[in-house]
Symmetry: C2
Subunit: 134 residues, 2 copies
């Protein structure tokens, strides 16, 4: 990979709309629902464009993506590396930093001779509120 030969990215009304809509949500959202929100809000972006915009944002590190139930969910995120604690009922999300886990991952991987690491660490559960509703 000759690395950073990032496709020249233009600023368009649609791209901004997606970025904004994504930032407005506290939770992880699917491309589909984001598209609906935008349409509901009067915007006329196409579904394909939303997919493309989200993929671009994720690629640029402006959004986190995670797979859940067969679909990909996105969420605006802080630029630093982190993981998530997600309520599987209401979707509330807490960003986690875990230097210890990073260290552990790097260590065990090294022990097995693995390089160029990448990892996913996501914790799902029920937040206090949702748990109380049971």
């Amino acid at each position: 990979m000759t690395a950073d030969d990032i496709a020249p990215r233009r600023t368009t009304r649609q791209r901004e709309a997606v970025r904004e809509a994504l930032g407005a949500s506290e939770e992880f959202v699917s491309a589909q629902s984001l598209h609906q929100s935008l349409r509901a809000g009067g915007s006329t972006v196409g579904l394909a464009t939303v997919y493309r915009a989200l993929a671009a944002l994720a690629e640029d590190g402006e959004a986190d993506a995670l797979q859940s139930g067969g679909e990909v969910l996105y969420r605006a995120c802080t630029p630093t590396h982190h993981h998530h604690l997600i309520c599987r009922s209401c979707g509330r999300t807490v960003e986690l930093e875990a230097a210890a886990v990073e260290r552990w991952a790097g260590q065990v991987a090294a022990e097995h001779g693995f390089v160029e690491l990448e990892h996913t660490v996501d914790i799902f559960g029920l937040c206090g509120e949702c748990a109380a509703e049971r």
Copy 2:
């Protein structure tokens, strides 16, 4: 959900074939490719059946499932809770136990009032051999 009212599971030729084929693979495989292997091996299982069998195995804790590139991959696994270190080139997989990570997860989740936890911790990378080929 009245919890553990596990659907009465019968032992059938197809189910056994799937279990066996899965156990024969060291790597994570998709339902589709497993189905092809079975057909290639002379078995006549239907694709839908392979999906159902794999879902059942995963539910019973006999197999691990992970999503990758839009499809779900399965792999026979040890019955104890563990995570994976996977070579993204050759698919080689190492099962990891990490009490420390479990503890960490439980702790941060508790700090935020989350309960009924579940988590995914997967490390992807290039194993020594594959890395050497570059």
